[in-house]
């Protein structure tokens, strides 16, 4: 395999992965104090605030839009197959 220069690599992918890796490493050694205390999270714990409420419906709608649009991704959902005619 020939040597590939830095410029040839996917810059967006490298940047995203480095950012994520640095963030996770920082979490392991930092002592950041939460500015919203656990006893202040009553509203956040309400089921209507859930990011995954009605996940079966959200997954279905993602698939429905994806098969009819040119865009996809960044929804957190994973699907397979086609069903697109």
């Amino acid at each position: 395999m020939s040597h590939r220069s830095e410029r040839e690599r996917a810059p967006a992918l490298r940047a995203a992965l480095r950012l994520a890796a640095l963030a996770l490493l920082l979490a392991g050694c930092s002592g950041v104090q939460p500015w919203v205390k656990p006893y202040e999270r009553e509203h956040l714990a309400d089921p209507i605030m859930s990011l995954s409420r009605n996940s079966i419906s959200a997954t279905y709608l993602d698939h429905m839009f994806e098969t009819r649009e040119g865009s996809h991704g960044a929804t957190g959902a994973v699907g397979g197959g086609c069903g697109c005619n």
């Binding site: 419906s57 040119g70 994973v78 699907g79 069903g83």
Partner: protein, 426 residues
């Protein structure tokens, strides 16, 4: 066709070369190999992540009926989802999903025959919780008469900063096998085909890889933000084998149909931000935006607003408004000037320029099931969405005999999407 998505680190950590990330017009691959620095960081984060504690999803079962109707297509079927914890660290998920498709869409009527078929999708997934880290992986199998897909996905999530932040890295790999159905023995009346088989001369493949990064953050005691970024690469046969381009030609309808020619690679980037805000009267406002761009020059913007309102103790109502707009692919045209006009040629509606509006309304009713003490919550849910699509450069070619090729009215699609499902938590 279904492009691949989702994302990841595992492949990168192992140093396995990635997928070609070429532009749409290039057939030779470039590999997004990661530098030693990046690989080291990723290895460290997996091996030395903080060991605190997270939460697995609740045990749940959902049974759904879904229906899509519009543009001469009806797609309906069931979906069943079961989620069950085993011990304190493991959670299993299984899903069965079915699309029963009856299609006489504008594309089918132009260059093929109306058809009925069933797509069946089965998936299993596992979440493993270790401290504040959740490792997830799963497998999805989708089968329809002319398309088979196997997908695996992996992700790792980490809660941090006093559980104010959750960071997720994901990876997805998918292998598709594409066939083309032909009529083996037409019915004597010629009105339909009772014996459809795969064309023995047509067998294509496509591979997909996806890498994703997500971060959920508590901003205030009433506000959440969720960020997602995803890079996908697709390689192989990415066209629809049934659809055709058309080019100007004298006589007849004024155009001739010809096979589509797609590039064999596609790389896409998508980034989204979602904001949820808890209102003082116990309701939630949701705003979401997604930006999409790929090497085929498709640029898409998605805007969505949602409002969730619980009332009368047992009811929850949802209203959503979604707007989507996209530009056309660089090799798309509704009508090419002549045969073999350019290297790549497509007329798929999904690659045309269009605007889409979707209004949705949902209602959920919580109830108890008597004499079944192990079910602690249940809900019945209905949801209806109405979608309108206005194409900017896709014309109704079925009207060419009236208006002439290239002068037909722009195509417009109205569709109704219906969902009914029961959920129980146990």
């Amino acid at each position: 066709m279904r492009p691949g998505r989702l994302a990841a680190a595992a492949d990168a950590i192992d140093g396995v070369p990635g997928v070609p990330v070429t532009g749409a017009t290039s057939g030779s691959g470039r590999r997004p190999a990661l530098s030693p620095f990046t690989r080291t960081l990723l290895a460290l984060l997996i091996g030395a992540g903080p060991a605190l504690s997270g939460v697995l999803p609740e045990d749940e079962a959902d049974v759904m009926y879904h229906s899509y109707s519009g543009g001469g297509i009806t797609v309906e079927g069931p979906s069943v989802l079961i989620r069950k914890k085993v011990g304190d660290s493991l959670s299993f998920t299984a899903n069965y999903y079915e699309d029963m498709i009856s299609s006489a869409s504008i594309d089918v009527r132009l260059s093929a025959s109306p058809y009925h078929e069933i797509r069946r999708q089965k998936s299993i997934g596992v979440d493993y919780l270790h401290g504040k880290t959740t490792y997830s992986f799963g497998y999805i199998n989708s089968v329809e008469p002319d398309y088979r897909a196997d997908t695996t996905y992996y992700s790792v999530s980490q809660d941090m900063f006093g559980d104010l932040t959750t960071v997720t890295l994901g990876y997805k790999r998918a292998w598709d096998r594409i066939y083309r159905d032909i009529c083996n023995a037409p019915h004597p009346t010629g009105t339909y085909c009772p014996d459809i088989i795969n064309d023995p001369t047509f067998h294509q493949q496509a591979d997909h890889r996806g890498y994703s990064f997500g971060a959920s953050q508590i901003l205030t005691r009433n506000t959440l933000i969720d960020l997602n970024y995803e890079i996908d690469t697709d390689e192989g046969y990415l066209a629809n084998p049934y659809r055709e381009i058309r080019y100007l030609s004298p006589g007849g309808l004024g155009f001739t149909l010809a096979p589509q020619v797609y590039p064999n690679t596609r790389t896409s980037n998508a980034a989204s931000v979602l904001l949820k805000y808890y209102l003082p009267w116990r309701a939630v406002l949701t705003a979401q935006y997604r930006y999409y761009h790929d090497t085929w020059a498709v640029v898409g913007d998605t805007f969505e607003l949602g409002y969730t309102l619980p009332v009368w103790h047992r009811w929850v109502f949802d209203t959503t408004l979604r707007y989507y707009t996209q530009s056309h692919a660089s090799f798309y045209s509704d009508l090419f000037p002549r045969a073999d006009y350019q290297n790549y040629e497509a007329r798929d509606r999904e690659l045309a320029a269009f605007d889409s509006y979707t209004v949705g309304f949902g209602a959920s009713y919580e109830f108890e099931i008597p004499k079944v003490p192990w079910i602690h919550k249940s809900s019945a849910n209905l949801r209806v969405d109405r979608m309108l699509i206005d194409y900017s450069d896709f014309r109704n070619a079925l009207l060419a005999d009236i208006y002439g090729a290239g002068n037909e009215p722009l195509y417009h699609l109205d569709a109704t999407i219906f969902e009914a499902f029961i959920s129980v938590w146990f």
